[in-house]
């Protein structure tokens, strides 16, 4: 192993020219594995289970992309990243894509030179307070101490919200969600604020979840989605349309249970185009005709992935809310497969 490494370094110059021209799609196919950056541990979104198998909502996106490109949902190398390392890891090519509940913002898209492939979870920042505090609205939080994760968009949103409402607060900076739980439960702060999904997941693990309430205000937009490097549009298309395929599948009623039956051909031309029995959509992406069918088979359509990892049946217990299909009053709206 040592030798192959040194060889790799020694042949840097020769490879550099050849490798620079090949796109990520070809790289992934040649490697036979997708390098996918995920969170090193976030309940419901990405975590290794007791057997070392990665599970979660973000992980499912990685598996779907691997299935679409390579036809094998297990051909993924999960690279755990932290809030600090995620963008550098993507920019340096250590990972092919990042699916790590990352908020799509202007500066990350434009200034950091990334391309967001879509939104897989619409989140927003909320507040959790102990019931004993007797607060029913975030606007009553004047003078409160607030536990807040440093270096995140939530920190900036919090400052904006309190300034806009002309009330004051005292921040208690913390580093991780785990630390925040401890501080909050120990009474070091009156309020804990982070993404509403995270608050719900956190509250579910408390000894007495009923003693804590989530305030009704959602003070920010946090569209979370997978992202790729700027400039490689073929690869960006693959990730974007894989995500869209999962969303469309739910809208069109394609599930992991009936997909084999539907793959034989149906009366609905859009389902046929999606599943590759009609048209040449796969070819246009440079993938097999059944790329979307493989992606859906990896973990089911969007609704199934949601229900399995973070839905109301799980301990996380999130309602669909904004993440329902547009036909159900949500924001999920995939462009047509045509």
């Amino acid at each position: 192993m040592k030798k192959s490494v040194i060889l790799g370094v020694a042949t840097v110059a020769g490879l550099a020219a050849a490798a620079a021209t090949a796109g990520t799609v070809d790289d992934v196919k040649a490697r036979g594995k997708l390098n996918c950056g995920v969170s090193s541990g976030l309940a419901g979104f990405s975590l290794p289970d007791a057997n070392g198998e990665w599970q979660g909502f973000d992980v499912a996106v990685c598996r779907a992309v691997a299935a679409a490109v390579l036809g094998d949902s297990s051909a993924v190398e999960f690279v755990p990243t932290t809030g600090k390392t995620r963008f550098t890891a993507l920019a340096s090519g250590e990972i092919d894509m990042l699916a790590r509940n990352t908020t799509w913002t202007f500066s990350r898209d434009v200034d950091l030179k990334f391309e967001f492939a879509g939104v897989n979870y619409y989140d927003g920042q909320g507040f959790m307070v102990p019931k004993a505090l007797g607060v029913s609205s975030a606007k009553e939080l004047d003078g409160a101490t607030v536990c807040i994760q440093t270096g995140t968009t939530t920190e900036l949103n919090l400052a904006d919200f309190f300034r806009a409402n002309n009330i004051s607060y005292e921040p208690v900076p913390i580093e991780t969600n785990a630390e925040a739980q401890q501080q909050y439960l120990a009474g070091a702060c009156d309020v804990y604020t982070t993404d509403a999904s995270g608050l719900a997941a956190t509250r579910a693990t408390f000894e007495n979840p009923g003693d804590h309430v989530l305030l009704p205000e959602i003070i920010s937009k946090e569209p979370l989605g997978p992202l790729v490097r700027h400039g490689d549009h073929e690869w960006g298309d693959v990730v974007r349309w894989t995500l869209n395929a999962l969303v469309s599948a739910e809208e069109l009623g394609v599930t992991s249970a009936n997909i084999d039956e539907l793959s034989a051909g149906t009366d609905n031309p859009e389902v046929n185009r999606l599943l590759g029995t009609e048209g040449t959509l796969g070819e246009m992406l440079g993938l097999n005709a059944d790329w979307a069918a493989s992606a859906i088979k990896a973990g089911g359509n969007y609704g199934e992935v949601f229900a399995k990892n973070i839905g109301e049946e799980t301990p996380i217990g999130l309602a669909r809310g904004l993440n329902a299909q547009w036909t159900d009053g949500g924001l999920l709206y995939s462009p047509p497969f045509r």
Binding site: M1, K2, K3, S4, V5, I6, L7, G8, V9, A10, V12, L15, A16, A19, A20, A22, D27, A30, R31, S39, S40, G41, L42, A43, G44, S46, L47, P48, D49, A50, G52, E77, F78, V79, P80, T81, T82, K84, T85, T88, A89, A91, S92, G93, E94, T176, A178, Q181, Q182, A201, T202, A204, T205, F206, E207, T314, P315, I316
Partner: protein, 434 residues
């Protein structure tokens, strides 16, 4: 009036000392209650100890060992003791201890790290206890650096053999050339031959032999390494390699050769001037910016190199301290015996300098071993990284003390053993002239 003075002529029989001066009571009186102030301090201390233990011991021993989630733990605690406070939920350790020890290493291959660890102890025995273990055992020590990567990573057996052959090639060229020309040329040619072998020829050698005789064991990816095994792996490599590099750097820093001296000074000062976490970030992320896409430079190997260089710089300064503490007469004595530089170092200077530096060296060892936990920040799953990954599981979210107590116990065992060994070594090498 008679001036008879009385002088006792016979000795009184010895009497037992008063009960209050000997035995347990005497000891207590002397050491704990020798005055009112000390008595108060003793009582306060006893209360403090009782207070801590009365909290900690029930927490440790009145605990839940079998449950599938934190909530189940809490239910059992409520059913048994009526409260969840002051009771540990060791079930998380029971559930995940294999993962905390081995990371994601395939479970049917656990024997390989275990064998590696046992062989490590065998390989270390002749070095650590040179007076009790036969020096023939040193052959295990020599083979171990090639055997360990083979066991841990698996793959073809020809890789480590080729790596070992590099030393044979270098040695062969050295003896050939130094006979023909001079020792210095021989040294340079030997090193060059080894490097050429490792970089260019060995891959053909491995490829050819592997296609003829494919002997090997199942390969394990570096990403599957983790847990306490990763800490031991990184720690052992950093400790084992940094000591020789540190000695060379320390000698280089005192060298009269200007280029050697400034290279060593520059290296030591640069590495010591940079935080370890920065070096790890460079290793894990920035290095990829300089390498072409698709280059597979193993992440664990990168981290190993950085940690080794880091501890080597500190080691060099510790050993330089030992060298500086030697009286000048030792150097002059070596010169007057007509020993050349390497003989003097080997026979006179180094044995004394290293002996003086033992506490510092072991301190650096312990430090670098504990620093291995920093790799969790760059996304490797060492024990700390796994602890947060386990908390991300909804079954165990919200559990802290039990995991960290377990991790602390693991590290304490290893670090305390190193510390005790260094004290044993100091006693053994004590020559009694201060």
């Amino acid at each position: 009036m008679s001036d008879v003075s009385f002088v006792r002529t016979e000795m009184l029989p010895e009497q037992a000392p008063p009960a209050s001066e000997v035995g347990a009571i005497g000891w207590i009186r002397h050491n704990l209650f020798s005055g009112w102030f000390n008595s108060i301090l003793t009582l306060v201390s006893l209360y403090a100890i009782w207070y801590v233990l009365s909290g900690v011991l029930p927490w440790i021993f009145q605990s839940v060992w079998n449950a599938n989630s934190l909530n189940e733990c809490r239910e059992i605690m409520i059913a048994t003791w009526g409260s969840t406070h002051g009771h540990a939920c060791w079930a998380v350790i029971n559930d995940r201890w294999l993962q905390l020890l081995f990371g994601f290493y395939p479970s049917h291959l656990y024997w390989r790290p275990i064998v590696s660890l046992i062989l490590l102890l065998v390989a270390l025995a002749p070095v650590l206890y040179s007076d009790r273990v036969s020096s023939k055992m040193l052959i295990v020590t020599a083979i171990y650096p090639f055997l360990m990567p083979f066991l841990m990573w698996g793959g073809t057996i020809w890789g480590p053999i080729a790596a070992a052959l590099g030393f044979v090639v270098g040695w062969g060229v050295y003896t050939l050339v130094s006979k023909q020309l001079s020792g210095l040329f021989g040294m340079i040619a030997g090193v060059a031959a080894s490097v050429i072998w490792w970089l260019v020829l060995s891959s053909y050698f491995v490829g050819a032999l592997d296609s003829v005789l494919p002997i090997g064991i199942e390969a394990v990816q570096s990403r599957q390494f983790g847990g306490f095994m990763l800490a031991i792996l990184l720690g052992v490599v950093a400790i084992g390699v940094s000591l020789p590099i540190g000695i060379v750097l320390a000698l280089g820093r005192q060298s009269d050769l200007m280029i050697v001296k400034y290279l060593c000074v520059g290296f030591i000062e640069f590495i010591r001037g940079v935080p370890l976490i920065t070096l790890l970030f460079v290793a894990s992320l920035l290095l990829n910016l300089f390498l072409p896409p698709g280059t597979n430079f193993d992440i664990i190997l990168r981290v190993m190199i950085m940690m080794t260089l880091f501890s080597a710089a500190y080691m060099a300064e510790v050993i330089r301290g030992g060298l500086a503490a030697l009286p000048r007469g030792q150097y002059e004595g070596a010169d007057s015996l007509g020993l050349n530089y390497w003989q003097a170092q080997r026979l006179i200077i180094m044995p004394q300098a290293l002996k003086i530096s033992i506490p510092g060296i072991v301190s650096t060892f312990i430090g670098i071993f504990k620093d291995t936990t920093l790799v969790s920040i760059i996304g490797l799953f060492d024990v700390i990284g796994l602890a947060s990954a386990i908390r991300a599981d909804t079954a165990w979210n919200g559990i802290y003390w039990e995991l960290f107590a377990f991790i602390a116990a693991l590290f304490f065992v290893v670090c305390f053993s190193m510390s005790r060994y260094s004290m044993y070594l100091e006693r053994k090498l004590q020559t009694g002239h201060h």
